[in-house]
């Protein structure tokens, strides 16, 4: 479809070191897709690449298309137009993305005017309406406030209002609630879900938290050491993980008071640049066999529209 975001076989190197390897992911218009991984997994790089927002020392291969646009081949000027109106992004730390010396109403109005030929007054009115839309009470008065006058949760709402100002078809949200308290987190997640449904916007939700992603997304992709290692319907991935890494992540979030210790995954992920063709999780995997250390892996179908990158996925159906 015209408004789908399609990432195909994308690899990214940072300063010559392999970071992301052959990631493919589709965010259909109106759908919520979760991208889960820990630090260094490449999930944020993948998300940023879909807006052409890679660091200067990054080199990307593969294709990312949004409608007729081929993101990785676009000039900065072309990208600026797609960003916002086509694809918008919100980040973990709204304070660093907001202009600290601009009134928030002005910041939002500026985005409106960058994408639409409207008067200043009309843009200002749209800004207030957007603040109201994202649940900021007394929006008319609050539009004159500065970012530091808002709480973390309210700042994230302002970022969402700014992202919505250009009427994007896809919203990429990179750890949007990680710095927030749980009650505020729930409110922001509810808001994102509501906006996706009402605007028919596609949502790519990037998080290290499987539960956050599970709460909102219909499909989940799990990344480890630069690769997607499992992908499928949210309920399938969370209920029947077929990749031992996903199973380990799920187990480490379990709070079973009949046990005296949490379940943990021993060891640490490989550093940037260390990207084996065989299973990258093998050194930490409790289910490892000799073949895991030598056989190149592929993301293979395991049924129910679900795929896993584990040569033992067939035998380990119930790990």
């Amino acid at each position: 479809m015209a408004d789908d975001l399609v990432i195909e076989n994308v690899s990214i190197a940072i300063a010559g070191k392999a970071a992301v390897s052959g990631v493919s992911l589709r965010v259909p218009a109106g759908a919520a897709i979760g991208l889960v991984g820990e630090s260094g997994s490449g999930k944020s790089l993948t998300a940023r690449a879909s807006l052409g927002l890679l660091p200067k020392n990054a080199a990307a291969e593969g294709t990312i298309t949004f409608g007729a646009h081929s993101i990785l081949e676009m000039t900065p000027q072309e990208l600026r137009k797609v960003r916002g109106a086509g694809i918008a992004m919100i980040f973990q730390d709204p304070m660093s993305s907001l202009n600290p010396v601009a009134r928030v109403g002005q910041s939002i109005a500026q985005v409106v005017r960058a994408h639409e030929d409207v008067s200043q007054d009309a843009a200002a009115a749209r800004a207030v309406a957007l603040m109201d839309r994202v649940g900021i009470r007394d929006a008319q008065a609050r539009a004159a406030s500065f970012p530091h006058e808002f709480s973390g949760g309210m700042r994230q709402r302002i970022m969402i209002a700014m992202a919505l100002a250009a009427k994007p078809r896809i919203l990429v949200a990179d750890e949007p609630t990680t710095a927030l308290d749980v009650i505020v987190q729930k409110n922001i997640l509810d808001l994102l879900d509501q906006l996706r449904r009402e605007e028919g916007m596609g949502l790519l939700l990037v998080s290290h938290d499987l539960a956050v992603v599970g709460a909102l997304c219909s499909r989940i992709a799990v990344m480890y050491a630069g690769q997607i290692v499992e992908e499928g319907p949210a309920a399938e991935v969370l209920r029947h993980p077929r990749m031992p890494y996903t199973a380990g992540l799920l187990a480490s979030t379990r709070r079973d008071k009949s046990q005296t210790r949490l379940v943990s995954i021993p060891g640490a992920p490989p550093p940037l640049g260390d990207r084996a063709a065989s299973c990258r999780f093998a050194p930490r995997c409790a289910q490892v066999i000799d073949a895991c250390r030598t056989t190149p892996t592929a993301l293979a179908d395991v049924g129910h529209a679900h795929a896993a990158r584990c040569i033992r996925a067939g035998e380990l159906a119930h790990v």
Binding site: K186, G214, A235, L238, S264, I265, P266, A268
Partner: protein, 257 residues
């Protein structure tokens, strides 16, 4: 029952210009070898509580009775000697370590300052500390930059243990760590409590995690302890705020059912 190791009575702290007290009349006891959980959101006063109990900051009113002595009544000079007994580990292991100091030197310094080691014996003790927190002995020669967040938090814990404390206050020690690493660090703290008979105050915002770790959990809201959950299950929480905290957490179980 014998006298508790630590008794906190009516601890309050007001910051100038704030609309309400950061901490208002917090009281609790901590026994030797006990682990106490404290849960709250940002601004709930949990970090102020940690800082006042460790006397890193002086409370306005209230007493901190540690081993029978009221720490709030001591002078700065006297406090310096007693502070060794209560050590803290904070959320950000990146900001907590001096980037220009080798790990081994940082640990040795703590032991030498407190007279807990001799110059000749200290390196053996450094090796033992590193081993205790699950790091290789070679870590002693490296600088903080060569370690991941989880490893740095292990180093911060080793540094706290170097002072041979009775109490470890861990303020959001795993909040900035990845899920799989969080479990490793939590398990390490539980192992140390068992092995060393350490008393622990474990502070965080994740009620389910704190409830797993600690048999007794204090819930803080706007500077006050609003509920004390002892040995009960979370489903028995009575305070409206505690229940809101429980309900706000996205649950994986909704998919599992």
């Amino acid at each position: 029952m014998s006298e508790p190791l630590l008794s906190v009575e009516g601890l309050s702290k007001n910051y100038q210009g704030a609309s309400r007290p950061a901490l208002a009349g917090a009281s609790f006891h901590l026994a030797k070898g006990e682990i106490l959980g404290v849960v709250g959101e940002s601004g709930s006063g949990k970090t102020t509580l940690a800082r006042c109990v460790a006397l890193l900051e002086r409370p306005d009113t209230g007493r901190v009775i540690f081993k029978g002595e009221d720490l709030t009544a001591l002078s700065e000079t006297e406090l310096r000697k007693r502070r060794r007994g209560i050590q803290t580990v904070f959320q950000d292991p990146y900001a907590s370590l001096n980037p220009t100091k080798r790990i081994g030197d940082a640990l040795a310094e703590v032991m030498l300052v407190h007279g807990l080691a001799t110059r000749t014996g200290v390196w053996g003790q450094v090796a033992a500390l590193l081993d205790q927190v699950g790091l290789p002995v070679t870590a002693a020669d490296a600088y903080p930059k060569s370690f991941s967040g989880g490893q740095r938090q292990r180093i911060c814990i080793a540094r706290a243990l170097a002072a041979q404390p009775d109490i470890l206050i861990a303020d959001e020690p795993v909040s900035s760590l990845d899920v799989s690493v969080q479990a490793q660090v939590v398990n390490l703290i539980l192992d140390l409590k068992d092995r060393l008979g350490l008393s622990v105050i474990f502070i965080g915002h994740d009620l389910q995690l704190i409830d797993f770790i600690a048999p007794k959990v204090l819930v803080m809201l706007q500077g006050e302890i609003v509920e004390s959950l002892a040995g009960a299950s979370l489903s028995e929480a009575r305070h409206e705020y505690t229940r809101a905290l429980i309900q706000a957490v996205p649950k994986l179980e909704t998919h599992a059912s």
